[in-house]
Amino acid sequence: MHYTVCKELNSVILSVSSQINFVCLISRQGKVRLTKWYSTYSQKERSKAIRELSGVILSRGPKLCNFVDWKGHKVVYKRYASLYFCICIDEEDNELEALEVIHHFVEILDRYFGSVCELDLIFNFHKAYYILDELLIAGELQESSKRTIAKLISAQDNLVEVAKEEASSLSNIIAQATK
């Protein structure tokens, strides 16, 4: 009983937490492929967190549970091929749901890239971020429909394409005019 009381007080004093504190993708070699911070961490804390977590997570065996306790938070991770998807949540959050969020994200990436692999995420890292931004804001889930997210992303990609074409036709006109 006392334990909960003390937690409440501390959360008021120390920080206001969000559901997901950060998301990161780490390769089996420990390389960072994506990080997104929803709670405030300094640059130093960020690299320390990633270093510590990759140490813990990469060394865990395959049959063990997908959760590790980390500094009063919990990190839920899941491995897909050579990539570890990690989500740091608060002590009282639902770990099983976090696993579903990870899977949701992976399915959307898969649909977008067409059977996604690590190289897709390396060369198109900004696209992975765009997708994540349609999935999560402020550390909270934004959309449960994969189709809606796919539609939103392709609409925005189209906007970029249109702008590109306009610009290239414009530069062609300029090029021809200055010939």
């Binding site: 006392h2 334990y3 009381v5 003390c6 007080l9 004093i13 120390l14 206001v16 969000s18 559901q19 960072v32 492929r33 994506l34 997104k36 911070w37 405030t40 300094s42 065996g61 049959k63 063990l64 549970c65 997908n66 959760f67 590790v68 306790d69 009063g72 639902n94 770990e95 099983l96 749901e97 696993l99 579903e100 949701h104 390396i122 060369f123 890292f125 900004h126 971020y129 765009y130 931004d133 804001i137 402020a138 909270e140 889930l141 934004q142 959309e143 449960s144 429909s145 994969k146 189709r147 809606t148 609409a155 925005q156 906007l159 970029v160 702008a163 590109k164 610009a167 290239s168 530069s171």
Partner: protein, 863 residues
Amino acid sequence: MNPFSSGTRLRDMIRAIRACKTAAEERAVVRKECAAIRAAINENDQDYRHRNLAKLMFIHMLGYPTHFGQMECLKLIASPGFPEKRIGYLGLMLLLDERQEVLMLVTNSVKQDLNHTNQYIVGLALCALGNICSAEMARDLAPEVERLLQFRDPNIRKKAALCSIRIIKKVPDLAENFINPVAALLKEKHHGVLITGIQLCTDLCKVSPEALEYFRKKCTDGLVRTLRDLVNSPYAPEYDIAGITDPFLHIRLLKLLRVLGQGDADASDAMNDILAQVATKTESNKNAGNAILYECVETIMSIEDNGGLRVLAINILGRFLSNRDNNIRYVALNMLMRAITVDAQAVQRHRATILECVKDSDASIRKRALELVYLLVNESNVKPLTKELVDYLEVSDQDFKGDLTAKICSIIEKFSPEKIWYIDQMLKVLTEAGNFVKDEVWHALVVVISNASDLHGYTVRALFRALQTTAEQESLVRVAVWCIGEYGDLLVNNAGMLNVEDPITVTESDAVDVVESAIKRHASDLTTKSMALIALLKLSSRFPSCSGRIKDIVVQHKGSLVLELQQRSLEFNSIIEKHQNIRSALVERMPVLDEASFGGRRASSLPNTVSTSNGTAVKLPNGVAKSSAAPLVDLLDLSDDVPAPSSSGGDFLQDLLGVDLAPATQSGTSQAPKAGTDVLLDLLSIGSNPAQDNSVSTPDILSSAQDHKPAIASLDVLAAPSNMMDLLDGFAPAPPKPANNGPAYPSIVAFESSSLRLTFNFSKQPGNPQTTTISGTFTNLSSNVFTDFVFQAAVPKFLQLHLDPASGNSLPASGNGTITQSLKVTNSQHGKKPLVMRLRIAYKVDGKDVLEEGQINNFPRDL
């Protein structure tokens, strides 16, 4: 020239970096790229700006500094086109965080984008704001976001809802503006809007009691209906996961219902049926279903009691616990930990399974299970549970031993039914994992041994035996050496033999052998060696026949490189050689260490979670008694694993050692570990003294501690060999008491409610600016007498707080009398941060409990 046809260059850079064989090569490539980007920035190159930013983001991800690109983000955000804005906002979120002042410059652009005609640009701005906005930005832009909650496109509404969460977390005062718009979101059909609206609603309830009341009244029924429709909805391919329609929405609805139902019987009643339906109908063969069940169980456990539902929930947990999937077992343990306050009996039924989980191969599960077992221990099951844990200690992983040892020690100290059991178990732990035992734990053991006069012989013989088999556990060696020094005679003559032990034959020289090996062992640290040296001095008098040999050992340390050992060996040598006449008086057995004052002081600095079972606790005076002090310390302690620095624990050691008599004992005290950290210690429950006996005497003991000190100090050579200096030279006079006239501070009214006022007077000791002595005076403003008055305070980590006992626990009505209580606060950030304190005052009026809480921010600045 074309800004959009240069995408290959980013790819080229990534390829070049990936092709690097060594870290040095990579650094070189990155350095070259960064130089080029800086040059482009200096030339204010517009065409490649977005590509350069993309490259910087990649470089940032590799961990290189990229601050020079921050302004580029702002320029891109300010440019008119969608592609530039898209990458600009992404860069803003990646390269900056809310603490950078550059962020303030973007407020205006974000404001314009929030009003943009292109909804995707509005979306980008909302997303960035939701992810990194600071409190100032939140204040500036809240009206825009609030308006967007009613935007025509649902995708903007959902983004605005999540953005609002960030805003109210940063500025809770803004919460009330969002209450009405959110109520509208809860009625929507679009799942994205519904999910985000429910989430916002949950967060509003957390920060605003009015919001909670409002939603409880207006929305509970609607939410129950939404959940029912969702549960009964037909197959919906867009939202289907493993045969369940939108588990995410399920979970958020359950979470919000939990918040609404907690503490409100009517609301809880309204959701009983649907919770029962979710708990029974949800498929549990896939993760999604289990996630819903898990959330549902938590909601059932949190809302107002409904016996039937709780049985259902506990059964689900039982099923989880026996699941083969480690994830499910992990969450079951987690949940059982919370369920224990609701239904301890039901959790106890799973004890055997939980105990098995302590031995699991998965560290995450082990840790959870151990914490749960710790909560399960009570007077009736402590013996078998401890046995299981101690047995497991033998085979457990090295990196788990620390946690396990701390928990076992804590259990032993808290629940031990008799002293001999306590000593036996502690010896087992010391033997198995002595290196993991915290200092205050073995200090406590020494105190207990010292008090158990009928067990002195038994203990010293058991320790001697244990040392024969295990000599590399530091704290075992220390305790053994201490006991042999004190009770060496009992070891040799087998005095006080108990029925349970086998006689052993130990000669005087065997005993000296043991101590000698402790002092000569390479691994022994200074504390152990010092203790061994003192033990030798004591033995030189107890075993006159070995006196010569002991003298030789002592003399060997005359050349020790450690000053402490060198000095002591010289002094001890002179005692043995020249001061035969006073030696026996000097090395007499230690007087019994004062268990009650040890316990009292420990209790005031350590959490104690079981004391609620002690019915008499409420009669104890504030600050001293274990149970009234316990919740307070829980307030301060983050968790069992985070040691809260405590000054009072340290005081105890100092008092015990009589340090304040000898001004020059720095070396002694610096080794003496700071006691009072993370182990739950309840010495009061160990001995035969029931707590209520102590409760009467404890304040006296504390107040008269001053008188005890000379007596203790004169003989105490436990862990501060430096005291020997005083023994030789006669007592140094106590240092003159500094005049008590530190700088003056105005007194403040720290807390005032309709019924109670608390004023603080401050004083400081000259020469110690960090520490402030606060004298608090409570005045009752109501016309009723307050009884069982307990004051508690909590401070952030940079402060240390020590509470002295209050002058009483009942407060006469209408200001006809006061309670005073003094607090000592040490500010480790003195001069940098002001004092801040949360307080909580509990008392009874006409037998009814009243709880008042508050925060004190108006301390004088330079405390």
